[in-house]
Symmetry: C4
Subunit: 272 residues, 4 copies
């Protein structure tokens, strides 16, 4: 009888196949989004003393809700220890702990920092993403291009180091380039075309080198785009070729196709 309840709870909390399981996920995601919104309002209204008690109530409300969810998850897990040690198990614990600690310690300013760990819960929303077929195609293309993107990042960092050191020499602390790490920060700001303007080259030679860095960044933005586009086009082609007509055996039909474009028979799409 009790086991039955655990199995039922497990299906609702961890599963997504039953209507109750789907509903639980949707409610959970809205609760997380609401708690993140509460955190935002918290940071906006912090200085307003009159609202402090209400913000406190809201904080405790979400803490109690997430504590109940955490307890339920531990209770119904077939392998409890595995859940507690898992990525989401740790996040679930970290997001409720800080509020309880405020009861013991009173150094509220430090705890506020830990309280923000709750934002990490927002990653649970990614679960929703996996429902969508489009996301899978994108994730596969990103996964295929991960090594190329890493190689690219590596090269950008080397360039940033060399350009940054050069600018540190040419401009020097007087013009804001106070150290090599700070110069590298400036180079990344420039190469990625963000361009805050908090540090800018002042000497003519520095401006020439900066222009070169900009044009380099402007051109190599093409590299990750090119990698990703080529991989995505490839994935889309593969997906098309996976659709095979059961009658004449031809492949290459569009994703949205309902009839074989060669023999006209209805396509019972089966991926193989």
């Amino acid at each position: 009888m009790k086991n039955n309840l655990r199995t039922r709870l497990y299906e609702i909390i961890f599963g997504t196949d039953t209507p109750a399981g789907k509903l639980f996920d949707v409610v959970l995601i809205y609760t997380i989004l609401l708690s993140v919104c509460a955190l935002m309002f918290d940071s906006v209204l912090e200085s307003d003393a009159g609202l402090a008690p209400y913000l406190n109530y809201i904080e405790w409300f979400f803490t109690v809700v997430f504590t109940l969810e955490y307890a339920a998850r531990i209770y119904c897990s077939p392998n409890r220890w595995a859940y507690i040690k898992s990525y989401f198990g740790i996040i679930d614990l970290l997001s409720i702990l800080p509020t309880y600690l405020t009861l013991v310690f009173s150094g509220a300013s430090y705890l506020l920092i830990i309280r923000l760990l709750r934002v990490l819960r927002i990653f649970r929303v990614f679960k929703l993403v996996a429902y969508l077929q489009e996301a899978n195609l994108l994730i596969r293309a990103i996964f295929q291009s991960r090594r190329k993107i890493l190689v690219f990042f590596f090269v950008v960092l080397i360039f940033a180091t060399v350009f940054g050191s050069m600018m540190y020499l040419l401009e020097g602390p007087a013009n804001g380039f106070t150290s090599i790490p700070r110069s590298i920060y400036w180079t990344i700001v420039t190469i990625t075309t963000v361009g805050y303007g908090d540090i800018t080259p002042q000497t003519p030679l520095g401006q020439v080198i900066a222009s070169l860095a900009m044009l380099t960044g402007y051109s190599i933005i093409a590299v990750p785009t090119g990698i990703f586009t080529a991989e995505l086009a490839n994935e889309m082609r593969l997906e098309r070729e996976m659709i095979k007509c059961a009658n004449c055996g031809r492949r290459g039909h569009e994703r949205a196709a309902k009839f074989c474009s060669h023999c006209g028979s209805h396509l019972n799409i089966h991926h193989d």
Copy 2:
């Protein structure tokens, strides 16, 4: 007789097939562009008291013109209520109403705000876009990629929330990150590589996190580009394949092709 006039008016105002209908559309679009230009001059010269009466005359001129157009549209619509409730029906009303309200109320400063609703009329210009075959191809490609782009936006917003909360902790109100929403605003400014520089990280750790956010943004700019390019290439291929030679039945001709590249017969292009 009267019905005849209504049908004729309907063809001119709503249709685009007759020469008069096309002319009406072109004149209307120029009038809208002119009225938008007038609004712009209005905002530039607002402080110049000497010009106020002239600007007033211009405003009433456009209001009367658009009122006549609105009346004519209601008059000749086969289904009047449907037009009034439609997207363009509401815009047409909203764009003339404010000027009349100034006769009743004198709180001009507040009405100026509503007057700007007239800018929404500029969306009528999109009707012109639909004439162009190129636009249709683009719209189809955007339509095909809409779900992928939405998934991407979703992921960017989650990243912005996490990065923004981190920066709020690391930099704090002293360095301009006065609240989480403001930090998220900064993150979006950074990830999209806009980089105003009104808020910039000052601490070394903040600059490291900011650099990571920039490189992330610089790489994921590839994602919408990749999605759109792959879809557009797909649409262009489909368009090519839709052109079929009537003589030998082969497909895959270029859009501009006049003769079949396989049998040399003239291509009577028919899409199927």
Copy 3:
């Protein structure tokens, strides 16, 4: 005899097939680049009175050289009036005229402005570009996508007008959005992800709208890229298919291929 000289001069100055013709073009391009460099130094050293006479000598040197070239071009043109009225004919005249006018008028400050017309001569350098096969491919791809890019520009301008008007309302003159045209300028700075930071939204709602404008701009940067990439890929495929093996008749060889990949015979590349 004299006609012979004219024909010979014509081949050298206007032609590019003879060695002398090529040499003339190269020398001319270097002279133009040098004269542009002189203009730049001029603008840098303007305040330095000691250098003024030397800069004057240099200016007259280039003016005399370009006057001789202009005279020679008129002299040897088969159709003189056509050259004088042509785009380059007018530029050639405009680039020498200002220096002569300084002899007559002494309002030097105004003439300095016209003197800069000489920069337009730099467009002659594009002639060099046409030598390169790569440039032709690029130009063809740009030419193919011109209408799509125009449609895109149109849409961006409409969006900029609507976003700009909204920001003018929300932020107002107090926060730097002093007029609608200036707000549209800000919107273009934001949508193109340039982000100077000379005007930035200060109100929370303004920042939300600005974030939307940024994300829109960040996504639609995909559109011209997608258009151009798809067209370029198309052009490269067409170029490949233009290469046909004379022995077995197959197409689709790589641009750098020397032997047919199907029958192994040497490829005498002939485009058809």
Copy 4:
């Protein structure tokens, strides 16, 4: 016997096939990265007098290590002079020389500049990159598109010159456009969408021209991306077509494929 040692050393230092050779490369790369980190800390802590002796010890440590490596490389090279004159031979020498020169000269401030040459050593890290198959594909695609990218750079520079001169005229020294080179620097900052905001147009006409420059830059960012994407897609297709089934002879298999998709026999991948 001695020759045996040289051959063994050569295999370790220059080779990458033996386990010892790979280990040497990895240790060397970490040493280089550490020495670059030391340089960075140096630039950060320069002002802190108490740390000066420790930083001095670290500098001498790396100098001795790189001196030993340099000596070993010369010792075991089959062709010593060729190594000394090679790109990496010169960098290896330049990166150790400055520290020794501080013993002879005491003008430390000038030597600090040369000391930064050590950063160039970081290019040795690229050797690691060549291990990765992904890098080769990227390098081949970049190599294929180098001429097109150069043509593009050329055109960007011409545009920057024309736009820069125009802005120099329109805005003038009063608004920060103090000379043509500085205006060209501004144009590059704008066209590449970096947008520092240290120089911004103030006049209405200047803002219109600036908007044009931004939209131009925003569109032509498509050009290098398009070039690179098209070339990369081409390289990926070629790589696919290089994989041929030994049984049925068909090509076009995916890189990760293990079995022929046509006859089902195991693919012994052999590129030809």
